[in-house]
Symmetry: C2
Subunit: 317 residues, 2 copies
């Protein structure tokens, strides 16, 4: 069974850990993650890929669970030097261990290696149990349009905590981007495509914005099932509500499903999982052509994530 997961960072990494555990029951299962690269950036001359790193560290078991991001046992000696010279963003942490990955990635990219070859080479250090594919090898950068101008998503998100009203999101370079090698084949040849409970606008939305990927999802023989990143009208983590508002979508489990759309109507979804508090959304979504079920969606640990993945796997069988 080939499972393909479209995923952003924190929510995506937790969900993937669950999918890996759920799929582990099946010796023939193969899990591939297509990961958002729209948050990537150049900083201090280094190429930073936040979502890919979060997923890599989480699947490798070296992530900092307490802090919620970065590597366990992290220090910031290099960062202090950079700040003394005014290099980098003072509000964006570059841990020492993390910089090991950034320097390595940048060195390989500078040698001409595409990101889709860099990622498996970085990942080869650990038995992840999931194949990681960047959505694209091109540099697609999500910027946020505010009343005061445009800024990199990362600045809006981390520096301003998404508090500056976002008028729109622009994915610079997305028109000229192509799906990274393996992405379209993975989706087309999948038995199940999952949309992780990641930000529907800047994570899943950016992946789907890369020419060819949304069409591949629409055209795959696989069932396509999403997991709501919204529970009871609130985002599970992050500040996706500010992103949804900017694109005119309500912060609501059913509204996000309808934003992706039912496959029978040219949309993406065969199925959609909502949390038990949103059980009232199940019947209307079914009526709209999206198989739906209400299950506990809080990913507290690997077991709860695995239960969600199992529910997603069985939803449209």
């Amino acid at each position: 069974m080939n499972i393909v997961v479209l995923a952003g960072g924190v929510g995506g990494s937790r969900f993937l850990r669950g999918v890996r555990a759920a799929a582990g029951q099946d010796p023939d299962a193969r899990v591939t993650a297509v990961v958002n690269t729209g948050d990537d950036m150049w900083l201090a001359g280094l190429r930073i890929t936040p979502d890919l790193d979060t997923i890599l560290y989480t699947l490798a078991g070296i992530n900092d669970e307490q802090r919620g991001w970065g590597r366990i046992g992290e220090t910031e000696r290099v960062s202090a030097e950079l700040q003394a010279w005014g290099v980098g963003w003072p509000w964006f942490t570059l841990g020492d261990l993390d910089l090991g990955a950034h320097i390595t990635r940048t060195a390989w990219l500078r040698e001409g290696m595409p990101l889709s070859r860099v990622v498996p080479r970085l990942a080869a250090r650990w038995p992840l149990g999931v194949e990681l594919l960047p959505a694209t090898d091109q540099e697609v950068e999500t910027h946020v349009v505010t009343d005061d101008g445009e800024l990199h998503f990362q600045e809006w998100w981390t520096r301003y905590r998404a508090q500056l009203p976002a008028r729109a999101f622009v994915q610079h370079g997305v028109e000229d981007a192509v799906a990274a090698p393996g992405v379209l084949d993975a989706i087309t040849g999948a038995d199940l495509v999952l949309l992780a409970p990641s930000n529907p606008v800047v994570s899943i939305g950016t992946i789907l914005g890369i020419p060819g990927i949304a069409d591949a999802v629409r055209g795959t023989r696989a069932r396509v099932v999403g997991v709501s990143p919204i529970i009871g009208g609130a985002v599970v983590r992050g500040m996706a509500d500010a992103c949804l508002t900017a694109i005119g979508v309500q912060t609501d489990a059913a509204a996000v499903a309808l934003h992706y759309g039912a496959r029978r109507d040219g949309g993406l979804l065969d199925g959609w999982l909502v949390d038990e508090v949103d059980a009232a959304a199940v019947d209307p979504l079914r009526a709209a052509g999206i198989a739906s079920a209400a299950v506990p969606l809080w990913m507290r640990d690997e077991a709860t994530s695995a239960a969600i993945a199992t529910a997603a796997l069985s939803l449209v069988e």
Copy 2:
């Protein structure tokens, strides 16, 4: 009084500390160091400038005196990551604090800033009392020709401890290099030009190999005084003997002076300091047109270095 010092790394940094102390007696004294860049290299996608760093750290007082190189209180957390991914040279240490400088320098270079602007910007963090100029903004790389092929000087020096017989030294790119802004003016307008007791082949030799610099030294109205890097037929530090042998010069205080040559014969030197154990060289050198004196040349600390600098300052007054 304008003093210009041509300098390599460890010997150069210790000597410069002495020159700064000696010049400190004179409120109008200005010390400029023209620093070898031939040992510079790209490693792990970062531009490393060993001699400039050694001088920067030493003059800033943050160098590791015990170890003899790098920064005090250094750690190697990033390096361990890089090695796990097989990036960099396992035999070449990249300390965490050191990497702060490498990342900063590389970021600025990648923005298009020439090295001669990067260096003062890095140096501005500390009151050095010496202006640092890279010999050139171009990438000149010293390679070593051995019987088994050619390798970067740094590999020959650090990895093989200069134990592979060197047949020749090649400064790649030196023909097309130009002296960095300020270098020729500093030499031409100097009151005294000093050749630090650095490696005559790969440090001072590489600086002098950059088109225009040797001519500026020959043409300056300043007196030119060198300090022998050889004491009693042995190198004070490093493995300069292997370098001298390759270019057919004896490891001998007088032989190195004659290699630089007397100014009256079209060479570079007005004066040359040898150690007391080499006092026998004084008369022959004087006869060859090079004012010479024998003084203690072991730079044990700032005081002994300052005494050497004072002797150099007064040698040809």
